[in-house]
């Protein structure tokens, strides 16, 4: 499947944190041809398993890409007049500064398109006149009469952003939910590539639920699978508008490999070696405390899991105009496939050694 179409399929399907059922259906269809078993757990994360060819007992590598996107939830249905409106609260770290006048869908009894609206700025109290509209100002305007709205929408209904995926120049694409559907796409590309390649280890790919709110899927999926090693795939800040600082990758500079407390140094090293083996340029990122990704949860599941982190550079994170380069998505997928094919029975020893031996 062409990368643009894959990303379009994944980003345009709704799946805000806690309401992942639609995106789960899509991912199931996309992964089904490449794996043996697919199941969805009680939290909503979707798992796809594929056996390796090594001698049993075979170790297992877990690939985790969260499938949930940031979104909103109905807090109140306002019925003060002829037209009805909806007050909202956020699911995950929505960039509230960009919400005004965006297009959304309320997933009520049926899907209702609406526009984020607000009372005029001149009506804000003085102390807030220089602030973006807050959740106390914003409403969803579905353009419907109050009676209609009240029949169709309840408190607690999920709201997703509405944005088609669009092409920019180069191989860049822009839309909503590229955090983290770009990574789900990368995992899909990895699974497709592994169809024709030999791998000793068992693979479980999981599209985790509720990462944006509490890394829930990361903890629970890793507990369930008890993998021997894991890689989290997420997005990272790319240089762009207002962000020219050192240390941030450009779009189209390849996947970023992260080092920091959430990453096992042996996993970082192995990912780097895999990139070198296929002459792929990668950048190196750092996190000094938490990585802000599923890696944080995966690493401390059960008695701990050696974890790596691969990230796709992305502009305008947590907005409806997130932007990635298609080639970076493809590279991330290929890098994961290469890493997996290099896993052998000695890898776990190798990881243990990385903790004790001097650097060469």
């Amino acid at each position: 499947m062409k990368t643009f179409d894959l990303l379009k399929n994944l980003t345009e399907t709704p799946g805000p944190s806690g309401f992942e059922k639609h995106i789960t259906e899509n991912i199931s269809q996309l992964w089904e041809p490449f794996v043996e078993i697919i199941h969805v757990d009680r939290i909503g994360s979707i798992f796809a398993s594929k056996s390796g060819s090594g001698i049993e007992p075979r170790p297992q590598i877990l690939l985790a890409a969260h499938m949930d996107e940031i979104g909103l939830m109905v807090k109140e249905v306002i019925n003060r007049g002829e037209y009805g409106f909806v007050r909202v609260t956020n699911l995950g770290g929505v960039d509230i500064r960009h919400l005004y006048n965006q297009s959304v869908i309320i997933h009520g009894r049926r899907d209702l398109p609406g526009v984020m609206a607000s009372q005029p700025a001149r009506m804000l109290p003085d102390e807030r006149k220089n602030e973006p509209f807050g959740y106390e100002d914003l409403v969803v305007d579905p353009g419907l009469h109050t009676e209609t709205l009240m029949e169709l929408v309840d408190i607690g209904d999920f709201i997703s952003f509405r944005q088609p995926l669009r092409k920019l120049l180069g191989n860049n694409v822009t839309g909503k939910a590229l955090d983290n559907r770009a990574s789900v796409a990368a995992v899909t590309i990895c699974l497709e590539e592994l169809q024709d390649r030999h791998h000793e280890w068992d693979i479980v790919a999981v599209a985790t639920a509720q990462e944006e709110t509490r890394l829930l899927g990361a903890y629970t999926a890793t507990f369930a699978q008890a993998p021997d090693a894991a890689i989290a795939i997420d997005v990272t800040f790319a240089k762009g508008a207002g962000l020219t600082d050192q240390g941030y990758p450009e779009l189209n500079s390849g996947p970023m490999l992260d080092i920091g407390p959430n990453v096992h140094p042996g996993m970082f090293k192995a990912l780097k070696e895999a990139a070198e083996a296929i002459e792929m340029e990668v950048s190196v990122g750092t996190h000094a405390r938490g990585s802000g990704t599923d890696a944080f949860g995966i690493q401390v599941a059960r008695s701990g899991v050696p974890t790596g982190l691969v990230a796709i550079p992305l502009r305008s994170m947590h907005t409806m105009v997130e932007t990635v380069n298609k080639k970076d998505v493809e590279r991330a997928g290929r890098l994961l496939a290469e890493f997996i094919t290099r896993l052998d029975s000695g890898f776990l020893n190798h990881l243990a050694k990385a903790m004790m031996e001097e650097e060469e």
């Binding site: 500064r97 965006q102 009372q119 932007t323």
Partner: protein, 349 residues
């Protein structure tokens, strides 16, 4: 689906670069008018001949420009700097999608991600000087063949009907243009109508002044779209324009007082024809009426407007019944217009 509203709102025509909408409108009216021309500012002027029964020349104005952005520079990174054309609040701009220049290059408006701001900075509005349009160019050189300094950018919104309402961009003032087109396509009036699809309203009521001078009408009606402020608010404010209450008649804005005789006529017409209407709260805003009134020895003029929510933003909203009543009221007003309406009494015979 209202195809006319769809076509007009989806077309591009930011103030001072109205060519696309001008050509579209010309094509939509060409078969229904006696003559048309375009003046030096780009106003499209069209003549709908009357039956000759009444000695009147009435100008109908509908501005065809929309608010948008102008590219003012290119960073070495390939990101575009811009300025607003017409009044757009900075809060509206962040995270929106635009179409840039004659090559219609897609771009998105971004700024430093919120996660990477200090906590106290997160609570401030992002100023447009900090924003950039990203067209996906990898550096300044890649931009040159696609976008030029001075290019205009418009928002991108697909027209959509949602039950009683419709969402689209630029109902201000493509709804006015649509109404004017419907009038031109209708039966002839007892007098000549000179339609002016004017330019540069959003940057200072510029086109209409020149158009009115050239036309020199006996009176003028301006068709507009006025902000509806019928969303929930904390403060108790006096009744203002709302969706679903019919076209809004201006009495006074920030710039001028609309002609009282025309206003009475319009209101009387509405009452006699059972057309709902509302009075637009006086004080703010400005329409082409102000500049039309001041040409030559003076021209009586008034504004009829359709209410529109979320003004000067990519997703505006109108009520479809309001649109029907807006066209109806304008037509009925014109049909019952008489020259006597504009005669002031002589003081001494």
């Amino acid at each position: 689906m209202n195809e006319l509203l769809k076509k007009l709102t989806e077309a591009t025509g930011v103030s001072s670069a109205e060519k696309e909408i001008r050509i579209l409108i010309r094509d939509l009216i060409a078969d229904h008018i006696a003559a048309w021309h375009v003046d030096s500012l780009g106003n499209l002027i069209a003549l709908k001949s009357g039956t000759g029964e009444l000695d009147l020349r009435i100008m109908l104005d509908a501005h065809m420009d929309e608010v948008g952005l102008m590219i003012t520079g290119v960073d070495s990174s390939g990101l575009l700097r811009f300025e607003t054309v017409g009044g757009i609040d900075d809060r509206t701009l962040l995270g929106k999608v635009v179409r840039v220049g004659p090559k219609k290059v897609t771009g998105v408006i971004g700024a430093r991600p919120i996660h990477l701001l200090k906590t106290n900075q997160r609570k401030s509005i992002v100023k447009r000087e900090s924003m950039r349009i990203d067209i996906g160019a990898k550096n300044k050189t890649s931009v040159t063949s696609k976008v030029s300094i001075g290019d205009l950018a418009s928002f991108i919104t697909e027209y959509e009907e949602l039950g009683p309402t419709a969402i689209g961009k630029a109902f201000d003032n493509r709804a006015g243009c649509a109404a004017l087109i419907e009038i031109l396509r209708g039966k002839p009036y007892p007098f000549d109508i000179i339609a002016a699809f004017t330019v540069q309203e959003e940057v200072g009521l510029r086109g209409a002044k020149v158009a009115a001078y050239g036309i020199n009408p006996d009176a003028a009606i301006v068709l507009e779209c006025t902000p509806a402020y019928d969303l929930p608010t904390d403060q108790d404010i006096s009744p203002n324009v709302a969706l679903g209450k019919g076209p809004a008649i201006y009495v006074m804005d920030r710039v001028t007082i609309q002609d009282p005789r025309l206003i009475s006529h319009i209101m009387r017409t509405a009452e006699e024809n059972n057309i709902p209407f509302q009075i637009r709260q006086p004080g703010g805003g400005g329409t082409n009426t102000a500049v039309i009134q001041a040409v030559h020895g003076g021209v009586p003029a008034a504004t009829i407007a359709i209410p529109g929510r979320h003004p000067h933003a990519p997703h505006m909203m109108i009520n479809l019944d309001d649109y029907k009543d807006y066209v109806k009221l304008t037509e009925a007003t014109l049909r019952s217009l008489k020259p006597q309406l504009f005669i002031r009494s002589t003081l001494k015979e």
